[in-house]
Subunit: 292 residues, 2 copies
């Protein structure tokens, strides 16, 4: 397993003179740490700067205009302040509603999670019909439906606004959560049936949902594939930016990941909750003020 070093407060690209580019990872909160976790596993030599805009989360219930403004501020922070040379938008809502705004705000390459998720769904589906569960804002944007349609898939999307609070409450293995999933997926499957669809793939279109994967896999109809867009985005990042990590040439024992985490609200809460998503301690989180 790769060791994670928490970067000292003074470290930055220009200060350390390191030639390893910095990957900037952005989320509205902690959920994007599931994407970072997948990235760390696939890029064993890399430097990461992660920001969670926790003072303004959740994005999933907000409007496009507001989400775009918030996301552009975080993206500029990662590029201009932290020296990130490319960005992974580890947030489905921001990817769905603000990818254009982020690409306009910075000059580095930007990867969202929607397109990789849709690509993975295309690879997984035999029937060509897929289901997507996500936040309210992501569903209303129909970004997954559009990305799926571009790949010849028919997608039916459903907002599941209770799942994020259930994960943040720590009820990832609770009977209430199982029941909520049963209600949501029951409604979604009934809607699919009445629309004449024959779905064989379910996309987890929110970075909180991988923590519910066991419950979700226990609820979907037999044989349905479950696609984790966090995992898919990490794979796409390696393809797009992978040269920097030289992952294939490095033994696990030599792996060394440098991680610097920022939050716009309580760092204590980030440190406490973040480890659930990252799968290990997040280290010292630094408070940053983006204004507002």
């Amino acid at each position: 397993m790769a060791s994670i070093e928490t970067a000292p407060k003074s470290s930055r690209a220009e200060e350390t003179g390191s030639s390893t580019p910095i990957v900037g990872v952005f989320d509205s909160g902690f959920g994007g740490l599931t994407v970072l976790r997948a990235l760390v596993a696939k890029m064993p030599i890399a430097r990461f700067a992660f920001i969670g805009d926790t003072a303004r989360l959740p994005y999933g219930s907000k409007s496009r205009r507001t989400i775009a403004r918030y996301a552009a501020q975080s993206a500029r922070f990662l590029v201009q302040e932290q020296g990130a040379e490319f960005l992974v938008i580890a947030c489905n809502t921001a990817s769905a509603l603000a990818l254009d705004a982020i690409q306009e705000a910075v000059t580095v390459p930007v990867l969202g999670v929607i397109e990789p998720g849709a690509t993975a769904a295309r690879a997984a589906s035999s029937t060509g019909d897929v289901l997507v569960i996500a936040t309210d804002a992501t569903v209303q944007s129909h970004a997954y439906a559009a990305a799926c349609r571009a790949r010849g898939l028919r997608a039916l999307e459903k907002a599941c606004p209770l799942l994020v609070p259930l994960v943040e409450e720590g009820w990832t293995d609770h009977p209430v959560t199982a029941e909520v999933i049963r209600v949501y997926l029951g409604e979604l499957n009934a809607e699919a049936a009445s629309a004449g669809l024959n779905p064989d793939t379910l996309v987890l279109g929110c970075t909180h949902y991988p923590l519910l994967r066991p419950l979700i896999e226990g609820t979907v109809p037999k044989g349905m594939r479950v696609i984790d867009s966090a995992e898919a985005a990490a794979e796409a990042a390696v393809v797009q930016f992978g040269g920097i990590s030289e992952a294939k040439n490095i033994g696990e024992e030599k792996a060394s990941v440098e991680l610097r985490c920022f939050a716009t609200d309580s760092v204590e809460k980030f440190e406490r909750l973040g480890s659930r998503f990252l799968g290990r301690p997040v280290g010292n989180v630094e408070l940053v003020d983006l204004g507002g």
Copy 2:
């Protein structure tokens, strides 16, 4: 029933020359409309300006510093832009963590919901032991415990972070919500028993919870009183500011309430969800940018 007129866009104290003072009501979102609803019922002749800081909700999971900054911005908007002559902080979290910051930010009298809620609990309790359910931030502030202690009560507080999302999902009469309430209140009662308390009163320390009152009353032990801090705050507002409404001298048929609503995010969502809390249509909601 009092009629509600939605104020035309141009109306303000200085523009209309009306002598009826404006009551400013502030919440992080829609929940405070339960307080406004109670205020409207008790002040049949009044002008209200309500702002929901929906671009940055929920406050309940954020830090004191962030909540104070946000709340002060909304308070200044109501006083400086809308001419409010007193403020009701219709948000338990902001009342618990930012009342001082709000009082420093404006020069008009400010009433929160915590003190009225504790006063109502004091009047209701015979044993002197009360339970409080609220958001995470409100509970961590221990504002209710302090206000209860000042009135000779012992209070045990519990954060119930799933209840707000359940109300916003519209599951106010859903078996899942009943089960979540059963889990939370079961844990709280068990904790009270092991602490040697004999509680006979439950305070609803969040303005979303009145919408769950039927489910909550069906779950509490027999004989336990349920106190709605929204209702208690409205009663306190009438005592403190009631002269302006001259409620006692006015027949219902002559009542006329003027209401102007503002939100920092999607006005459509505010108009759609707000009516659940206000108990009638909220009218045209105006978008306002507080920065950030």
